[in-house]
């Protein structure tokens, strides 16, 4: 851990003389500081004005981010040439306009002062030109390229050209690669294929250890499709049913109608039983073994799933998690086939779905020749292979990365990698849709993209733009190409580039039987399952240097800055530990010591630990959390866990998760809601009060927000979006532990046994706001359009308002958390940057409201419904957050506001909040 912030504040012994000096200086500063003299500041206009740029006006471009090869289309907001905010591109199939936390946070990486800034060779500063010359002159011979999965056709073409010059071996390495999915599909289809899910058409969704709404290349798009089937007010088929079996609760699990806590290693048995029940032709012995291995509860659960699937033949989806062994994916496709589900299989977008060369092959190479490690950190993610040795044996080694990391030190050369917003790219989405990524800013220092590096190796002298452009032109008719290129850049996708469905049926073959029989064998005794999982924020660790993601509360545990051994209450008491007690985990290869954290809804036979922490690289990530890559080389391990003695603070933003019967976050079943649709009536409307109600305080357009807790998965994309939009600072682990986190919106989590509700909590903009009565300087006030306003330049920091706020949504700047380094380039110029001693809170993105008002005035029209979209609303992948005018009609907001599920949080206080919620409705199976 870095030094406590308090130690950074100098302690000054103030003498009387010094105090008088300070007073005099203060008076002088008051005199000179309040008014600038004319001419103190400068105005520097352009010499030639760029045609599309207007000072102070947001310009939007399309762009593409990549993660593990897959493209995520984004819209990039730029202010005066600086990208400041990202949002999903509605036209791109991977986002459909929604966001994920990391997608929102990538904008911070662009300006991160920790980024690697200059090319080096043998520890000496070098230039990209010099390194490029070395790449071009590499002798013909073995050439290893280690990089994450790629989907770009330009990269594919370059690799083919490199293979003609060198003895090329590409090692596709990503700890969270979806190789098991492709291997599983190979088992039953004969070749690796990708499934294209349409969750909007599924009446029954079965997730087997699959966090389909939280992680994975289609999480945002699938969330949107899933949410479209969670409308309890609609017709008979408006609510689907979600069955989730998982060892640890995930965002998907929080939305489950029926959830089974089960160890990840037992999923194979569960899938076998479901398959046998729905009529997949499997050897009978497998079904019996599976039945014997599962407990009675799990077996009965499997039978209920199977009955529900059979009742909805042809309209269900079975999804196995990426970390599950291949044969589980094979079983899922066999179940689909047996039920007649409309399964769409396509070619995988990934170039090398079943990697031809493994990292272990590289590690054991005696004469590896040249080794290039691009955009990954194998020394950190595969420590058991001891790759430093092979890098030392190589004749040439180069690491390209956004940051200097563990691998950098072991390589001869290093080149700063271009950020996705600094270069031309053309990655595909999971469904094959191509998107052209264009740079939206000139790199601030000398960087190279993967395409640049590969082009040098291929002996191609063209720049990345020409390569991407020519690659696409090779696939389109020439006469219309210029229009097609412009359209692709404007819309953010290449129309019609998605893969076509293959007509193919799965067949169960004996290798699958053998693999399944091996999986169903009893696990070694005296061990417990340790399931490694992606971090919802840091992914495989590549986003660890990002402070927004480090400080993002975990959707389930609310932990920030680090990871923990997540276990059930029963497991913890069996180990004799409680929260924050250190445990020692001994895996097949190595061991790790980390704090325990009890999670409601975790399985009693599995411990879950998230990857991506405990790095030695960039400053803020160093030493945060514990590295568990060294435990073993699989995601589901058998290990021993014991109490280690000692404790470590786990900085969390929410510690109590019980509702204590206060109806803060109600939850009802669909059947109960249909029996009594008025069940939320007592939680909304007027309360007897002595305070003025409404009256003439409110004039004109009135703003409000409605949040549907039925479809909030707790993914937290809204939290990062708010941070990016509103210049919200991070405070560090020590201050989070002291309750000083600054997020304007948080996701409160209520869990009692099977009842789980995610409730985004932000300023409720109460009409009778308790904060306003207690402010001694009128720094918080109410606007005629119904906003609770916070005036930073008037606030003197008494914090009375925060104490009087029943929702606890006000945030105080205990220190000067704002930054003045390159990260300040990300600041939204339409929002004041706050400093020490000032209270702040959600403003309903008032800058966007006023911006819309200004546009309406300039155009001489009224504000249109749907014109103001708050940052959290735009980011929400499920559309759970809707914002609008109270009197609008026929919009998503109006429909939600009219719902009979509408309720006010803490209604009995009579605060008349403008932010209101919809009761969570689940759809459990009768009798399950």
């Amino acid at each position: 851990m870095k030094g406590d912030l308090h130690s950074l504040v100098p302690r000054v012994e103030v003498t009387r003389r010094a105090a008088l000096k300070l007073l005099a200086t203060g008076v002088a500063a008051l005199e000179t500081g309040c008014f600038e003299r004319p001419g103190d500041r400068e105005i520097v206009p352009y010499v030639q004005e760029p045609p599309e740029l207007r000072p102070g006006v947001t310009t939007r471009y399309t762009g593409v981010l990549s993660l593990d090869g897959f493209g995520y289309g984004v819209i990039v907001d730029t202010h005066d040439g600086r990208p400041t905010k990202l949002d999903g591109n509605p036209a791109h199939p991977a986002t459909l306009g929604g966001s994920l936390p990391w997608l929102q946070a990538r904008i911070l990486d662009l300006y991160d002062p920790q980024r690697s800034r200059e090319p080096t060779m043998l520890g000496q500063p070098a230039s990209w030109a010099a390194i490029a010359a070395q790449l071009r002159a590499l002798p013909r011979g073995p050439l290893w390229i280690v990089m994450p999965p790629q989907t770009s056709p330009t990269i594919a073409a370059l690799l083919a050209r490199i293979a003609a010059r060198h003895d090329l071996r590409v090692v596709t390495h990503a700890p969270l690669a979806r190789t098991a999915v492709y291997r599983g599909h190979e088992l039953v289809y004969g070749r690796p294929l990708e499934q294209q899910l349409d969750l909007a058409r599924a009446d029954v969704v079965v997730a087997l250890d699959a966090d389909l709404l939280g992680t994975g290349p289609m999480a945002a798009a699938w969330s949107r499709a899933f949410a479209s089937r969670r409308k309890p007010e609609g017709g008979p088929r408006s609510m689907n049913r979600l069955w989730v079996a998982e060892p640890m609760q995930t965002p998907t699990g929080t939305l489950a109608d029926e959830r089974l806590p089960i160890a990840a290693g037992e999923i194979a048995a569960l899938a076998t039983l479901i398959a046998a029940e729905v009529g997949v032709a499997l050897p009978a012995s497998l079904g019996q073994t599976a039945q014997a291995r599962l407990g009675e509860r799990a077996a009965s659960w499997a039978r209920h799933v199977a009955a529900d699937l059979v009742a909805h033949r042809g309209a269900s989806a079975i999804i196995a998690g990426d970390r599950q062994p291949p044969v589980v994916h094979a079983l899922a496709r066999m179940i689909d086939h047996a039920l007649g589900n409309p399964v769409v299989m396509t070619t995988p977008a990934v170039l090398d779905p079943l990697p031809t060369h493994g990292l272990d092959e590289l590690a054991s190479a005696a004469n590896p020749g040249a080794v290039l490690v691009l955009d990954c950190d194998p020394l950190y993610t595969a420590p058991h292979l001891h790759l430093a040795g092979v890098l030392a044996r190589s004749t040439f080694s180069l690491h390209a990365g956004l940051y200097a990391n563990a691998t950098t030190a072991a390589c001869r050369g290093h080149i700063p990698l271009a950020h996705d917003l600094e270069t031309w790219t053309d990655p595909r989405a999971l469904d094959g849709t191509l998107a052209i990524g264009q740079p939206t800013i000139r790199p601030r220092f000398e960087v190279a993209s993967i395409i640049d590096v590969l082009a040098e190796l291929a002996g191609v002298t063209l720049d990345a733009r020409t390569l991407v452009h020519d690659q696409l032109r090779g696939q389109a008719a020439l006469d219309v190409f210029d229009t097609a290129w412009t359209t692709a850049l404007r819309t953010g996708v290449v129309a019609g580039s998605a893969f076509r469905a293959e007509t193919i049926t799965p067949t169960w073959r004996s290798p699958a039987t053998d693999a399944l029989a091996a999986l169903l064998a009893p696990p070694p005794a005296n061990t417990v399952e340790v399931a490694l999982a992606p971090s919802p924020a840091l992914h495989d660790g590549r986003f660890a240097p990002n402070a927004w993601l480090q400080e993002l509360p975990h959707p389930i545990t609310k932990q920030t800055w680090g990871n923990a051994a997540l276990m059930s209450r029963a497991t913890a008491s069996a180990l004799g530990v409680s929260n924050e007690d250190l445990v020692r985990v001994r895996g097949p290869v190595g061991e790790a010591v980390l704090p325990a954290l009890i999670v409601e809804g975790a399985d009693d036979h599995a411990v879950t630990i998230e990857l991506g922490h405990g790095q030695h690289g960039p400053a803020i990530a160093a030493g945060i959390g514990t590295d568990v890559y060294g435990l073993g080389d699989a995601m589901i391990l058998r290990a021993t866990v014991s109490k280690a003695g000692g404790t470590r603070v786990v900085p969390r933003t929410q510690i109590y998760m019980a509702e204590h019967g206060r109806e803060i976050a109600p939850l009802v079943t669909l059947a109960a809601y249909q029996r009594d649709p008025k069940l939320a009536a007592h939680l909304r409307g007027d309360q007897a009060s002595l305070l003025p109600q409404g009256g003439d305080r409110f004039k004109g357009v009135q703003w409000g927000m409605t949040i549907d807790t039925s479809i909030c998965s707790g993914c937290s994309a809204c939290m990062v979006a708010c941070q990016a939009e509103n210049n919200v600072p991070t405070v560090g682990p020590e201050d989070v532990a002291k309750g000083r986190a600054m997020h304007w919106i948080r996701i409160d989590r209520y869990i009692e046994e099977e009842r789980v509700v995610n409730e985004p909590m932000l300023c409720q903009h109460c009409e009778n706001a308790p904060c306003e009565y207690v402010c001694p300087v009128n720094a918080t006030d109410h606007s005629p359009d119904g906003l609770n306003e916070q005036v930073y330049n008037r606030c003197v920091g008494t914090r009375f308002c925060a104490n009087n706020c029943p929702y606890k949504v006000r945030r105080f700047n205990w220190f000067a958390y704002e930054h003045e380094d390159s990260r300040s380039l990300q600041y939204n110029p339409d929002v004041t940057v706050r400093s020490r001693g000032v209270m702040e809170k959600c403003t309903y993105c008032v800058q966007r409201i006023r911006g819309a008002e200004h546009r309406a005035i300039v155009d001489h029209r009224a504000i249109q419904p749907g014109e103001v979209v708050t940052a959290c609303q735009a980011a929400c992948p499920t559309g759970a957050i809707q914002f609008g005018m109270l009197d609008e009609h026929d919009t998503a907001f109006a429909t939600m506001r009219a719902s009979r599920r509408r309720f006010e949080a803490l209604h009995d206080l009579g605060t008349r909040p403008r932010t209101q919620y919809l009761v969570k409705v689940t759809n459990p199976k009768e009798g399950a």
Binding site: R37, P38, G39, R41, V47, Q48, L787, E789, V846, V858
Partner: protein
């Protein structure tokens, strides 16, 4: 030693008056020391009203606006629609001065900017604090004349600040019940502070 029955007076009869004078004077002095800057910053002198500022080019609004009849919007091109009025680029100036006075020493810094591709660093006359968000477009659309805030720029040789642009200056219009535009609801904090 015994005390004298008739001691010599330690203080003269005027001492009390002097004492009171000093105490009152001290209070007044402290009060003045506190109040003086508060009064001072509210004066036009402190805010630099009417102080002409020397610019890198001796640009004369009188000549361009009054003599040549060029509209404000020709150079400040985004003033009708956007938050910022816009300061003309060198290219905009050169649009005329490529032909008009192409050899004049007065326009030499302009030509230098164009040839070396270096922007002209004008001195800012009217500035608002960072926590104030002002939108030119809505004011122009509402019929507020440029001169209402910027003064009679058409008759200024070197431009100077016409008003202090304090919050009071804004509220004098926004709170005015005489104003036919009825903008008293636009006095809520977030109209300007976000």
């Amino acid at each position: 030693m015994r005390c004298s029955p008739n001691p010599v007076a330690l203080f003269t009869p005027t001492a009390s008056a002097v004492y009171r004078g000093v105490v009152i004077g001290a209070v007044v002095a402290v009060g003045a020391a506190l109040c003086a800057p508060m009064i001072y910053i509210r004066t036009g002198y402190a805010s630099g009203e009417g102080d002409p500022v020397e610019q890198p080019i001796e640009f004369d609004h009188r000549h361009h606006v009054r003599d040549d009849g060029i509209d404000c919007v020709y150079c400040h091109s985004t003033v009708e629609t956007e938050a910022y009025a816009g300061i003309p680029s060198t290219e905009r100036c050169m649009g005329c001065h490529g032909q008009v006075w192409p050899d004049s020493p007065e326009t030499a810094p302009l030509r230098a900017s164009w040839e070396t591709h270096t922007p002209i660093r004008w001195k800012r006359i009217n500035a608002l604090p960072d926590y104030v968000y002002f939108h030119h477009g809505v004011h122009v659309q509402a019929g507020v004349a440029c001169a209402s805030c910027h003064g009679d720029v058409r008759n200024m040789a070197r431009v100077s600040k016409a008003h202090d642009l304090s919050m009071k200056f804004c509220l004098d219009c926004h709170r005015s019940t005489q104003d036919s535009r009825a903008i008293t609801h636009l006095t809520t904090c977030t109209t300007c502070h976000r």
